[in-house]
Structures are given as C-alpha cells and as structure tokens.
C-alpha cells in the first residue's frame, strides 16, 4: 500500500515537473524543474529496489549534467535584476517545493526499508545474491570478476588526463609585454630606417 502511494506520488511529480520544464518562461526555472524531475525519477528507482541506479541518477544527472545546463543557461542574456525582484514573490513556492522534497525523502527511505515493489516475475537467470544490496553486488563484480577491466579503465582516464595536460599546459612565461632591454639598446638607426625613392605612381613597397 505504502509502495503504491509512493509510486503514484513520484510518478505524478515526474510528469508534473517535466511539463513545467517545458512551460516555464525562465530558462533557469526550466533547469530547476528538470532537476526536480531527476530527483523524482531517482525516487522511482528506489521503490523498485535499485538504489544504486537512484544514486547514479542523482550524482550524475543532478550533480553534473544539470549543473552544466545551469551554467549554460546563466550565460544567456537574462535580466537578473528582475529575477531578484521576484524572489520574495516566489519564496512560498520555493518553500513548498522544499517541503515536497523532504516528504519524498522520508517516504522513499521508508518504502525502501519495507521492501521493493514487485514489477514482474524474475526469470531466475539473474537472481540477486541474497542478503546483499545491489551496491555490494556491483562492487563485488567490479573489484572481483572485472578487476582487470576496471584497472585498465583507470589507465585510460590517466592517459586522457596526461593528454589534456600535454596539449594545453604551457610553461609560465609571459606571453605579452615582455621587454628585452638589451635588444632595444643594441638596435641601431640603420636597422630600423631605410631610404627609398619610389617611382611616380608606384607607391612604396615595404
């Protein structure tokens, strides 16, 4: 019963915030609605017992992708003075959303502890290890069976990092405004000036 209530709450909020993502006039609000949609999708994952995917959704999508969106949106030409003026007007709405999120958090954890929602009958081929959360199972695979690939993937990231540094890092030397006094003093008038007698109508060749 509790699971069903939680499911309908999360699902309705995913749909609602997705609609507001499209309808919001202010792009910053759009992104914030999108983040709310991600949170609720993560809640859906929690109630089917896939807490690892829920965490990934929050960390990867909310933590990285949505913040990236937010940066891009902030580079758009938006009148922030107008936004700030309406802060007090939107304050109750913000509080309401915060309250909804808090309620969801409590509900989600409660549901997770009372067991996952049964979506269908398992085929039996990929039966979960008893007494293990799926984070533990994934960890056991990553550091056991797939250790070689995991470590190799680490090497790939290292190569990528070294490559990025090799291609962009330059030794700290002033690019502009560098004055070589010796060179200036050693310069003679003959080096810099030259007498020319241009033909009429030809102009000066430099």
């Amino acid at each position: 019963m509790l699971q069903a209530i939680a499911f309908y709450l999360f699902a309705a909020l995913v749909l609602l915030s997705a609609v507001f993502t499209i309808l919001a006039r202010n792009p910053v609000h759009s992104v914030l609605w999108l983040i709310l949609a991600f949170f609720n999708a993560a809640g859906l994952m929690v109630i089917i017992g896939a807490e690892f995917i829920a965490m990934l959704l929050v960390i990867v999508y909310v933590g990285a992708v949505a913040v990236l969106f937010l940066f891009v949106v902030m580079m758009l030409d938006i009148d922030f003075a107008e936004l700030r003026a309406s802060f007090m007007k939107n304050f109750p709405l913000g509080i309401a959303i915060a309250a909804v999120l808090l309620a969801e958090l409590v509900l989600g954890i409660g549901v997770w502890q009372s067991g996952g929602l049964q979506l269908g009958v398992a085929s039996g081929e990929a039966a979960p290890l008893l007494g293990r959360s799926n984070i533990e199972s994934i960890g056991a695979l990553l550091y056991g069976r797939y250790l070689f690939l995991f470590e190799s993937a680490g090497l790939i990231l290292l190569v990528a990092m070294v490559g990025a540094i090799v291609l962009t890092h330059r030794e700290g030397r002033a690019v502009r405004g560098h004055q070589n006094i010796g060179k200036q003093i050693a310069r003679r008038p003959g080096d810099a000036t030259v007498n020319v007698r241009p033909e009429i109508g030809q102009g000066v060749k430099l």
Binding site: F148, L149, S152, I156, L158, V159, V162, V166, L167
Partner: protein
Amino acid sequence: MDFSTSLALIAPELVLSLSGLALLLVAAWAGDRAARTISVLACMALGAAFALCLPVVNGGLAGADRIAFDGQFRADAFASLAKLMIYAASLAALVLAPAFLERIRSMRAEYPVLVLFSAVGMSIMVSATDLLTLYIGLEMQSLAAYVLASFVRDDNRSAEAGLKYFVLGSLASGILLFGMSLTYGFSGSTAFDAIGVALGGDLSTGALFGLVFVMAGLAFKISAVPFHMWTPDVYEGAPMPVTAFFASAPKVAAIALLTRVLMEAFGSQVDSWRQIVVFLALASIVVGALGAIGQDNVKRLLAYSSINNVGFILIGLAVASSAGTSAMLVYLSIYVPMTIAGFVAVLMLRNAAGEPIERIADLAGLSRVRPAVAWCLMIVMFSLAGIPPMFGFWGKFVVFQAAVQADMVVLAAVGIAASVIGAFYYLKIVKVMFFDEPSGAVVSGVGERGDRSLGTLLALSTLMISPFGFLATGWLGAVADRAAASLLLLA
C-alpha cells in the same frame, strides 16, 4: 583459475603499465630535460615485455591455461606474435622521435610515456576475448594516439591531424559500441566464445546488424576502404615519427583484433562476413593503388601505400582458415619492418635549413647526395611493390597462395592486377632518386646526434626485408602456423 595465475599471464602488460606510471613520475619531476633518459628507459621496458612474449610465440602456447581473468584475456601464441610486432614498432617510434622532435623543439617527457600506454592498449586489444576488453584496449590505444598526432601543438597541421583523428575515431568508437550492444543483446554474452555458440545456426537480422556495425567500427581503425578518408590527412599532419608509429603498430593491433573477433565470436558465421571482408580487401587494394599515383608528399604516399597493404592482408582474412590467418601474420611481420624502414629513410634526410624532407620532388638525385639512404629506400620500394628478390614479395606470395588454395582465384587475380598498378608509384620514387638531376634540396649528412641510432635502425629493418629475409621464411612460417593454430583451437 586463481588471481596470481592471471597476473602471471598479463606480465608484459604489467611491466609496461608499471614502467609507464613510474616514468610519468620521473617526467613530472625531472621535466623535459630528462626526455632522452625516459625514452631509453621506456625502450628497456618494451624490450623486457618483448622478451616475456618470445617464449610464448616460440612454444606456440595455447589452450585453457593461457586464459586470464575468467576468459576476458588470452595470452596465446597468436596474441604474443602480434605483441612482438607491436613492441618492436613502438620501440622504433621511440628511437625515431628524439632526433626529429628536438630539432623542432617539441620533444617532451610525455612522448615516451604516451607511446608506452599506447603499447599497453594495443596488447590488450590483441589479447581481448571479450567485447569489454576489446573496447578498453581500443580506447587506451586511441586516446594516446590522438594526443601523439597533435604532439607538435604549435604546428597547425599537427593540431588539425589530431582533431580529425579524434572526431573520426570517436565516431568509429560509437559505431563499434552500437554494434557491440546489438551483438550482446542478440547473443546474451560479451565473451567471444559464448557469442560464437549463441550465434550458431541462422543469423538473425539484429545480430547481422551487430556484426556489420562491429566490422565497420574496426574497419575505421585499420583504415580499410571505404573507411579510410582520415588516413592521408592524419598521416600528413602528424609528426613523422608518429606517422611511422601509426602506420605500423596500431595496424597490427587492429588487424589482429578484427581477426580474433571474426574467427572466434563470429566463427560460425563465416559466410555472413566473408563477402564484407572481400569487398573491404578489393576496395582497399584498388583505392590504395590508384590514390597514391597523384601524391607529391611522401607521407601521403605512404598513407595510401598502407591502405593498399591492408587490402592484401584482408585477403588472408577472407580465406577464413588456419592457412589464411598464418599468411596474414607472415605478411604483417614483413609489413612492419618495411614501413618502418621507409619512414626512417625519409626521416634521415633534411634540407640545408635542417628541416625534414616531405616532397617527392625533393628526393631527386638522392643516389648522388646520400647513396646509402637511397639504396635502402630503393630496397623498401621494391619490397613494397612486391618485386621478387626482395622479401616483400614473400608476403604477397603466401597471401595469394592461401587465397588460391581456398578457391578464391578471382580475389587473388584482382589483387595481383592492382599490385601491378601499385608498382608504378613505388618505381617512380626509385626513378626520381636514381635518374633525375639532384634538386639540391637534400644536403649530405651532417653528423648529428641521433643519426647513428637512426642509421642502425634503418640498416636492421632494411636487412630484414632484403633478400636475406628469405633465410627466415621457414622459421617465420612455422611460428605463424602455430600462432594461427592457437587462435582456432578454442573457436
């Protein structure tokens, strides 16, 4: 299979990775001044890895006790033979680089480290018996290669080469991943042997799509026509030691990888992929031969030449038998010294300003200015053209022999006809070097640091492809046969 046995089987990769990490620390503290020392140490690491692979190749080791990490990795004779070629080619790339890069003040301590990690990626590729291992190895090699292509970052052409290689390489990886996900979806496993079992019988349309996409992604990496567009541009723009590296080691790795995927994972579906391989082979041979004719840049010419050679190698794959695989390996082991000798010879030439020579017209009259280099280059060109006393002939001979024995006479005939077209531009270079008036572009050798190591490398690799190479045919054939047998043992 316990953990320590698995670790013992990946000993060459471990040696390379750990020395790569250690040298990275040296590079971080000692800076670019230590670049030469790091290069020497990296060469020693490659030598050690080479020595670790040698007994596997000589013994023709294969079978269940060469499988590491639950079937994700296999260190059999086939993989080890490919690793020998890869390490030798990487060693050459390390020896070539300092003399060239120091002259344009672009030698940095990270160059040998990136080459080492690229070698690790390639040896994971050739040992991969799982789609995941395949992809990890391929990406490690590719990422290092993208950076190496644009290593001379102040040079616009080098930066352009790196960017082009990166964009097209990512596209190829995407296509490959798409194919891999379809294959996994329709077979239910990522391990090659399990895929081979699951896809036995009639191939469903979805699995066929997977096969085609996997092949397209890998054809990008070996630059087989019609996925070759990036090759001339990248080879022209990349610094010449890096171009020599690209034309040798990654080719070996990607071809060995393609062979293992097709023979093991899709070994029960030979009829489905044979026509694709035949098309790739013929198109590469013809486009490689015709495209090279109009080139006036040596690097572009050698790029088309490598496309042409990939076509000949794919003939061996199209045969899809032990004999065909063995012929491929023989061809590859001749192709690597041939390519390296060609690039070293061109690298040793420079004009009065000390800049490297790239235009074919600048080679005019080389036999009078630098006779030794000209003779070596002549041997390379005759060998590439497949003219009999040179060893390059043997590689083409075994490949065509395998094709004829498998009743693929038409394929062999078209290959021979196209190799006659290819002979035209190889012989043109010989004509320019020996019969044209000197252009004055190339100056005779001035005793520069690093020239001696280049000379040694040139002499060694030329010796391998000269008629003396025929002394090794018996040993090479036996080793290649054992390696091919080890590939097919579990398939």
